[in-house]
């Protein structure tokens, strides 16, 4: 089952890529992700809790180990416990949702194309309902800002269509077999603007929008991340950590916002590899010191010897701090998030940042507990600074996705601060906050993506009146924002509240840090409410005029995240009990 959890998305990725020309490729991907989710969800079954009573207080639920390259200490060793299982489950859940999002988006686009075909034949064109997938390119659709009446907007776009058509027909060929008839049957004037939606890749990639490839890359990221969470071998952990990089780079680089994606993708790749190689050095120092690469065994033995503990922890912490990201190593994050497509942002926020914090808590803290204790003040100060800086920056940011991305820096600051506090309550808070962020921020990114797809802008000043234009969407956005700012009763609260508590508990200078964190939470409330004020309230902005509300498919994709947020907020007990079983 452990192997299946990682192998299913990987084989799914290959299958989707192999069948990328077929219209059902998306559903294969979604199916693979669904099966992987089932595999992860079934992991607690038959778990071995015997050693809990007998032994050192913690053990793996299951473990599987196959020798791979013994002379490098490389075993294909997977293991799972309460800490890694929750994160693996989150990864699998987000994987399923992202694949579904893609599949539904592609179906809808296909339906739009078909509908346009029909509609143009009867000369009664309706603007395409907004697709789920945020198109990467600029699109002359009917509902452009200032276009006024959408129907006339299409005709107004007429002069622009002649140059546009070439891209559009190229896209339709690879997207869907049936769409080919548009080229013959539909009058170009009417058909082109609708085709403009999937032609987002544009530019040099004239082969058009290949969403199945995106699904395949998502599955690859999911497989590698699951492997990171489940790895019980440090070398395997490093390899899996590295394996995340290329697919994510490709997602940002290939499917991102055309204006910024190159820079953002390169920045992401260079930051990440610098971090992961430093982390690798730390891991290998630990392996050389203990003579084994078995993560569980090293943790059980109390980590590396005290002589190298601080060195190991520093190397690992720098590596993971890049990924987490911890101020001042965060500067890749806003760029990558802003440039990435919606599903890319969701995975970045929901999964990749978790790799950093999981590594910090489980690997860095587990391998070098003494070093962690020594370095805790530095880490805590950086985290607190990060919280406040992120809050202040967010207050001034004019762009929706960038704002959400920067808020992640603050949230991860809470997680790191809680970890640095080092107490029982602190560790729980860190893990809890980690997971809560993994539910709330992806939801925010989904919503922001949907909003940007509908209005074609992410600028806060250009938005407004969503409450009137699309009440359900505005409601969900409000819900997610409240969860993100840590309203009691929602998932965000417990992690942040206990972080402040854990820091304050240490007393002394830590009280200052706790105060800074509390101030950061206040700033979070301020900037999220500011965002809501701009987006939801006020009079309806031209961009938000006539946009569609939440569709059933969207609601289905988002509902697990909403449900999870509520569940964690209202009943945090079972999750905390799971962490208690963890291998820390």
């Amino acid at each position: 089952m452990l192997v299946l959890a990682a192998a299913l998305p990987a084989s799914g990725a290959l299958a989707v890529w192999g069948l990328r020309r077929k219209p059902y490729a998306h559903w294969i991907g979604a199916g693979a992700a669904g099966l992987a989710f089932a595999a992860v969800a079934l992991l607690p079954v038959g778990r071995d809790t015997g050693a809990l009573i007998a032994g050192d207080g913690a053990t793996w639920w299951h473990r599987v180990a196959i020798p791979w390259a013994p002379s490098l200490h490389l075993d294909f060793a997977l293991a799972v416990d309460g800490v890694s299982w929750t994160l693996a489950l989150l990864t699998a859940l987000l994987g399923v949702l992202c694949c579904l999002h893609n599949a539904v988006g592609a179906e809808q686009r296909a339906a739009d194309l078909y509908g346009a075909d029909q509609a143009s034949a009867s000369a009664s064109l309706q603007p395409a309902s907004a697709p789920l997938q945020e198109p990467a390119g600029s699109v002359e659709n009917g509902g452009t800002p200032g276009g006024g009446d959408p129907v006339t907007g299409v005709h107004a776009a007429g002069p622009a269509t002649s140059g546009h058509l070439q891209v559009a027909t190229g896209a339709s060929g690879s997207l869907q077999d049936g769409a080919g008839s548009v080229e013959i049957g539909g009058p170009p004037l009417a058909a082109a603007p609708v085709h403009g939606v999937p032609s987002g890749a544009g530019g040099e990639e004239r082969d058009g929008w290949q969403s199945p490839v995106l699904t395949a890359l998502l599955l690859a990221v999911q497989a590698a991340s699951t492997l990171v969470f489940l790895a019980d071998n440090l070398v395997l952990f490093f390899i899996a950590f590295e394996a995340v990089l290329l697919p994510m780079w490709a997602i940002v680089h290939r499917f991102g916002d055309p204006r910024t994606r190159r820079r953002a993708a390169a920045k992401f790749a260079l930051f990440t590899i610098a971090g992961s190689l430093l982390m690798a050095t730390g891991l290998f120092v630990a392996i050389a010191d203990t003579g084994t690469a078995d993560l569980g065994a090293i943790i059980a033995a109390g980590g590396v010897s005290s002589g190298v503990s601080l060195l190991v922890f520093s190397l690992l912490a720098i590596g993971f701090a890049v990924k987490a990201p911890l101020w001042p190593l965060h500067s890749w994050l806003p760029d990558a998030h802003t440039a990435a497509p919606t599903v890319g942002s969701v995975l970045l926020a929901g999964v990749l940042l978790k790799l950093g914090t999981y590594g910090l808590i489980r690997v860095a803290g587990g391998l070098a507990p003494e070093g962690a204790a020594d370095a805790a003040p530095v880490l805590a100060v950086l985290a607190a600074v990060g919280i406040v800086v992120a809050g202040l920056v967010c207050l001034r940011l004019p762009e929706l996705k960038r704002l959400i991305a920067y808020s992640s820096v603050g949230h991860m600051g809470f997680v790191v601060l809680a970890f640095a506090a080092g107490t029982e309550a602190g560790l729980r808070a860190a893990l809890f906050g980690n997971l809560a962020h993994g539910l709330v921020t992806p939801l925010l990114f989904f919503l922001a993506g949907a909003l940007k797809a509908r209005t074609r802008t992410g600028s806060l000043t250009a938005l407004g009146g969503l409450r009137l234009a699309a009440p359900a969407l505005a409601g969900l956005l409000g819900f997610a924002a409240l969860a993100s700012l840590g309203l009691p009763g929602l998932a965000g609260f417990w992690g942040e509240a206990f972080t402040v508590y854990a820091a304050a508990e240490r007393g002394g200078a830590w009280l200052l840090l706790a105060a800074a964190a509390a101030f950061g939470a206040f700033l979070a409330a301020a900037y999220l409410l500011r965002m809501l004020k701009h987006v939801s309230h006020g009079s309806v902005a031209p961009a938000a005029f006539g946009i569609g509300d939440v569709s059933a498919a969207e609601a289905a994709v988002w509902s697990p995240l909403v449900a999870g947020t509520l569940l964690l907020g209202l009943v945090p007990g079972p999750l905390l009990a799971l962490f208690a079983e963890g291998h820390l």
Partner: protein
């Protein structure tokens, strides 16, 4: 005086390669087939001998001049196989071409078994000498490349010989095992000077800084199949020579570690910075190859410290393993390039659209480039990096950080290379050498999935 019995089985791969070279000279238009079959047999023979018990020949007391252990036979098999690959992607060429190539491969096989300084230097010369002719294309540019290669090579050979002579003067022996035993109480100055000169001279073959400047020029102007050979088999020769000398002869000498550390750091810095500014494919790969030479040498530097000298065997194994993975990836990337480029390597931008136009060479190229960058899913490169970092992390953390920094810079030029292949569109691309590329791809995938195959024979014991 008693005549010594020679273990002919140990020499079998070398006999086969030498016989193939002779046959290639006289078989006229069947020379290519003869060379490929003969070298293939030699490779198989090397594997077969390597799987059996360790053998040795030409003993002086306990010390042997020629050894056929796992590492030597693994390297020998690789030399022969790389030469076969080069022949397979070479197209039609005059008969003497095959003689020269086979002779060079025979030099490599001899080098793999060499355990004394004279055999080693002669083998390196045999490996290099035929290349003076092969690298030279007709015309002014080709002649310039050939001359550059000749002068650089002769200079470095003289340097290496001088080093060997000084070491002989210091210890009175040329056997590597003998050096290891005698260097402890030899004249320190002589030994240090000899070590420095010998290693610097041999580093030329590996194109490690400071004797690297020939590589980008010669690789760019040589015919692409020969560039493939220079980047793979010839570099393996340099790596093997240095690893053998350090692992068997100088493993207790701190100055050797310092020399290697200087070479490694200089190569990593120079190679990466040089590659960053390249806009043409072959020079980019050549500069990055200099950086990779630095990564391969880095583990050997741990013998500079007393703690590191205890791990000399592990360090040598890591260096050898890195070199093997690296030359396999280099062979893959150059073979793919040879298949799709008719004349020279061209600019990086010329590779645009390769993914659409020629999927097989493009995927081999991509896999190898990703491997050179050290990223999964091309695990061959990742495993190589892990092997090096594991050794460095145990005794020279600062060098591990240097290697890591180099790899970060490396990503900055490998990613655009991969992007160029993946995006855009191109015109017609020659489609050839599909069988050779398929086999190369399978070999790369095999060592990625089962790295233990390589790690087994690259473990330099003793």
């Amino acid at each position: 005086m008693r005549a010594q019995a020679i273990d002919h089985a140990a020499m079998l791969p070398l006999y086969l390669a030498a016989a193939t070279a002779a046959a290639a000279l006289f078989t006229g238009r069947f020379a290519k087939a003869a060379a490929m079959i003969g070298l293939g047999t030699a490779s198989a023979a090397a594997v077969w001998i390597g799987l059996g018990p360790d053998r040795a020949a030409f003993a002086v007391g306990e010390w042997h001049s020629y050894v056929a252990d796992d590492a030597a036979m693994g390297a020998a098999a690789l030399f022969a196989a790389l030469a076969v690959l080069v022949a397979a992607v070479s197209g039609r060429r005059p008969g003497e071409n095959w003689f020269l190539l086979t002779a060079s491969a025979a030099g490599g096989i001899a080098l793999a078994g060499a355990r004394d300084l004279i055999t080693l230097v002669v083998a390196v010369e045999t490996l290099t000498l035929p290349l003076y002719v092969l690298v030279t294309r007709p015309g002014r540019d080709g002649a310039e490349a050939g001359t550059t290669f000749l002068i650089a090579s002769v200079t470095s050979s003289a340097t290496a010989l001088m080093g060997a002579a000084l070491l002989y003067a210091a210890t009175g022996t040329v056997h590597l095992e003998g050096l290891a035993a005698a260097l402890g109480d030899a004249h320190a100055g002589l030994a240090a000077a000899g070590t420095a000169l010998l290693l610097a001279g041999l580093a030329f073959k590996l194109a490690a800084a400071p004797l690297h400047a020939w590589a980008p020029l010669v690789l760019e102007r040589a015919p692409l199949p020969i560039a493939t050979y220079l980047a793979s088999a010839s570099k393996l020769g340099g790596a093997v020579a240095i690893v053998w000398v350090v692992a068997f002869g100088l493993r207790g000498t701190a100055s050797a570690g310092i020399v290697v550390a200087v070479l490694a750091v200089a190569s990593i810095a120079v190679g990466n910075l040089g590659a960053l500014v390249q806009r043409r494919t072959v020079p980019l790969l050549a500069w990055s190859g200099i950086a990779h030479a630095g990564y391969a040498l880095a583990p050997l530097a741990v013998i500079a410290t007393a703690a590191g000298r205890e791990h000399a065997g592990a360090a040598a194994s890591a260096a050898f393993a890195y070199a093997v993975f690296f030359v396999l990836l280099e062979a893959g990337v150059f073979a793919a390039l040879t298949a799709v480029r008719a004349e020279d390597g061209g600019a990086v931008a010329d590779l645009a659209g390769l993914w659409k136009a020629a999927p097989l060479p493009a995927s081999v190229f991509l896999f190898a480039v990703v491997g050179l960058a050290g990223l999964p899913p091309a695990l061959a490169g990742t495993v190589a990096k892990v092997a090096v970092l594991e050794v460095l992390a145990s005794s020279a953390v600062w060098l591990a950080v240097v290697v890591a920094a180099g790899a970060v810079v490396g990503l900055a030029y490998y990613l655009p290379l991969a992007r160029a292949v993946l995006t855009g569109r191109s015109g017609a691309v020659p489609r050839r050498y599909a069988v050779a590329l398929t086999i190369a791809a399978l070999a790369l995938v095999a060592v990625s999935l089962a790295p233990q195959l390589v790690l087994d024979f690259t473990s330099v014991s003793r």
